[in-house]
Amino acid sequence: MDDFNSETDSDYTSYWRDWFISSRGNEYFCEIDEEYLTDRFNLTGLNTEVQYYQYALDLVTDVFDFDCDDEMREMIEKSARHLYGLVHARYIVTTRGLAKMLDKFKKSDFGKCPRVMCDSQPLLPMGQSDIANTSSVKLYCARCEDLYNPKSSRHAIVDGAYFGTSFHNILFQVYPAMLPAKSQRRYEPRVFGFRMHAGAALARWQGEQREVMKERLKKAGIETGFEDEDEELESEMEDEEMEIGDGFEPGQPGGMVDSQALLHGRW
C-alpha cells in the first residue's frame, strides 16, 4: 500500500474506498460495505467485465500487495474504479445501499432540479443504460419526472451504468413517502402580457391529456399525487380552476377548450 500511497494525493486517508468517494467528481457515489464487496455472490459476472479483476478487487478491498511498475498500477487503478462503479450499481438497490443513497438525496448531494417550477426538488443520479460506456450519468427529478444533465462537467464523465436505470425508481417504491407532490404549475410564454398562441394551444392540449390521465386514475381509485388534489378530490374541476392562481395552466375540460379555441382562432 505504501507504493500506492506515494502516487496518489496527499489527502489519501487509510482506505481506497474512502479516497475514492471523497475524490473530486465522485460525489455521487456512496461507500460500499466491506461485507458486500467481499461476498463473491455479489460480484457474479463482473470478472468478465473488468480487466485485472483480481488485482482491482484487492485494491478496492485494501489487500493489494502486488509489486508492479507504474504503468501496470495505473491500469489496475483504472480497473478498480470501473469495478467499484459496477458493484455500486448493484449495491445501491440493496436495503443498506438505498438507505445510504436516501441520506445523500435528503442532503441534496446530487443537486437540485434546474426547472423553475420544481422549486429545487432534490435529484437522484441515474443511467440511461445498464451497460457500461453507453452514456454518462444523468439526474432524475421526481417532481417533473424528467432527466437533466449534471451542471458540472466533472460529473459528465461519470458512467451512468454505475447507477443504473432502475435505482431511482426502486428508491421511490421502497420509500413512497419521499415522493414529492406533482405540480401543475407551468411556464406560460407571453408577449406583452398575451399568451403565445402556439405555446398556449400546446399547453391546453397537454392539459387535456393530463385530465384524461387523472380521470383514468380516479376511475381506478388511485391517488393522482398532484398537490392540492387531496382536498379537492371530490370537488368539481371548475372549482379547481377558480382556485388556481396566475401562472398556472388550468386544466381544461372539453367545452372550455373549444370556446377558447374559437376566441383564439378569431383573434
Binding site: 423553475v116 419526472e145 407551468r186 408577449v191 398562441h197 382562432g265
Partner: protein, 369 residues
C-alpha cells in the same frame, strides 16, 4: 466614474463585463439618450438623473445651473456632518463629495435603470438582433434537459417589475424555464430581461432551427416518426414543391414548435427493464408535461371546434378564417404575411363535408387537396 476609467471603458461596457453580467447586451448610448425610450422610468428609479448621468458617463458639472444648485442643497441636507459652505465648493469638490457620500446609492440606481432600459432595448429591433448574435454564440448556455439535446436557451424574467425573481433561462425546445447553472446569475434580476423577450425572440427569428443536435435514441417506431418529421422538415424548407404541406401551425413552423417534446422525448421510468405502471404509487404522472401530438394539426383548435359543432351554425366562419394551419400552396410557396389561411388537406380528408371554399379563396384549395 473617475476620468481615468472613462478613457479606457464606458460605464456600460464595464457593467456588462462584470462577473454574472454575461447575459446583458450593451445598450448603445443613442438608445438611452432618446427620452422616448425612458418614458416612465423616472418614477421607478431613485436618483434617476444621477443614475442616468452615470450610465452615460456624463460629467455632472456639465449640467446647468439652477437645478444643480437645488440638488446640492438636498445633498447638504443629507450630509449634515459635512460642514463645507456651499459657495466654496467647486465642481471637482462636489464630485468628490458625491463619490464619498452616495456613490453606492447612485451606482445601484444606475444598475437598476440600466436593467430597465435593457429590458426595453432587447425587444427593439437592434437589441433583439444583438441578442440573437449572443444566442448564436451560445452565450446563454444550453438546456439542462437531456431530451432537449443541448438546445440553446435565452435569458428571461418571470416578472416585468424588478425585485421579484432572478433571471431564468427559457428553452424553446421544451417551452420551459430553468435556473441558470451558475450561482453568479442568482444576483441578476429577471426584470432586466422581461417576460416578453423570450417569446418575441422566437417570433422574430422564425427561421432559427431550435431543435438542438437531435440524436434520438429510441425504438423503431420513434425512428420512423423521426424520419417522418425529418421529411416534413425538409418539405417545409423548400415549401413550393409539395402542396398541402403544413408549413405553419398557429403561427409557428411545425418543426420549431417544441421539438424537444413528444414521442421519443418523454422519460419512461423502468425497473429492470419493465415499465413502471401509471397505477403504481410511484408511477409516472407528469408525462403530459412533455407530450406533443404526433399530428401537429391536432392543435388547430378552431378547426376541431367546428368539426365537432356541425356546419349549420350561423356563427361558423369562412373556411379561410377557420383554421390556423398554413400549407404551402402550389407554386406559390409559403408567404408569412399572407392573410388568408388555406384550408388544409387534413380537414378535407376528415370529411367535415361543409366546405365549399370561399369565393374569395383564390390560392390553393384546389392545389391543397
Amino acid at each position: 466614474m473617475s476620468s481615468s476609467s472613462q478613457v479606457t471603458e464606458s460605464w456600460i461596457s464595464s457593467f456588462c463585463g462584470l462577473l454574472g453580467h454575461e447575459y446583458f447586451a450593451e445598450v448603445p448610448e443613442d438608445f438611452i439618450e432618446d427620452d422616448f425610450n425612458l418614458t416612465g422610468l423616472q418614477s421607478q428609479v431613485p436618483m434617476y438623473k444621477e443614475a442616468l448621468e452615470m450610465i452615460l458617463d456624463v460629467e455632472p458639472e456639465d449640467d446647468e445651473d439652477e437645478e444643480d444648485e437645488e440638488e446640492e442643497d438636498e445633498e447638504d441636507d443629507e450630509i449634515l456632518g459635512d460642514e463645507r459652505p456651499t459657495g466654496y465648493r467647486r465642481a471637482s469638490d462636489r464630485r468628490h463629495l458625491r463619490i464619498a457620500s452616495d456613490l453606492s446609492v447612485i451606482e445601484s440606481s444606475a444598475e437598476l435603470l440600466y436593467g430597465l432600459i435593457h429590458q426595453r432595448y432587447i425587444t427593439s429591433r437592434p437589441g433583439i438582433q444583438q441578442m440573437s448574435e449572443k444566442y448564436e454564440m451560445q452565450h446563454f448556455g444550453t438546456c439542462p434537459r437531456v431530451y432537449c439535446s443541448s438546445c440553446k436557451v435565452l435569458p428571461v424574467g418571470l416578472n416585468d417589475t424588478p425585485g421579484h425573481e432572478t433571471v431564468k433561462l427559457f428553452c424553446p425546445s421544451c417551452l420551459d424555464v430553468y435556473t441558470p447553472p451558475n450561482s453568479r446569475f442568482q444576483t441578476v434580476d429577471g426584470a432586466f430581461f422581461g417576460t416578453t423577450f423570450g417569446s418575441l425572440f422566437f417570433m422574430t427569428f422564425t427561421d432559427l432551427d431550435i431543435g438542438g443536435s437531435r440524436t434520438s435514441s429510441a425504438g423503431a417506431a420513434d425512428a420512423l416518426l423521426a424520419i417522418q418529421a425529418a421529411n416534413a422538415e425538409a418539405k417545409a424548407r423548400n415549401s413550393s414543391t409539395t402542396p398541402a404541406n403544413v408549413t405553419s401551425i398557429n403561427g409557428v413552423a411545425p418543426h420549431n414548435l417544441a421539438p424537444g417534446l413528444g414521442p421519443g422525448n418523454i422519460y419512461e421510468p423502468r425497473i429492470y427493464g419493465f415499465r413502471v405502471s401509471e397505477r403504481a404509487r410511484s408511477g409516472p404522472r407528469m408525462k403530459w408535461l412533455r407530450m406533443r401530438p404526433a399530428d401537429i394539426t391536432d392543435l388547430d383548435e378552431t378547426r376541431r371546434y367546428w368539426e365537432e359543432h356541425g356546419a349549420e351554425d350561423v356563427d361558423r366562419p369562412d373556411d379561410d378564417d377557420m383554421n390556423m394551419v398554413d400549407v404551402a400552396a402550389d407554386g406559390k410557396g409559403f408567404q408569412v404575411d399572407r392573410r388568408k389561411r388555406v384550408v388544409g388537406r387534413r380537414r378535407r380528408a376528415n370529411g367535415s363535408g361543409n366546405g365549399e371554399g370561399s369565393p374569395m379563396d383564390t390560392n390553393g384549395v384546389g392545389g391543397a387537396v
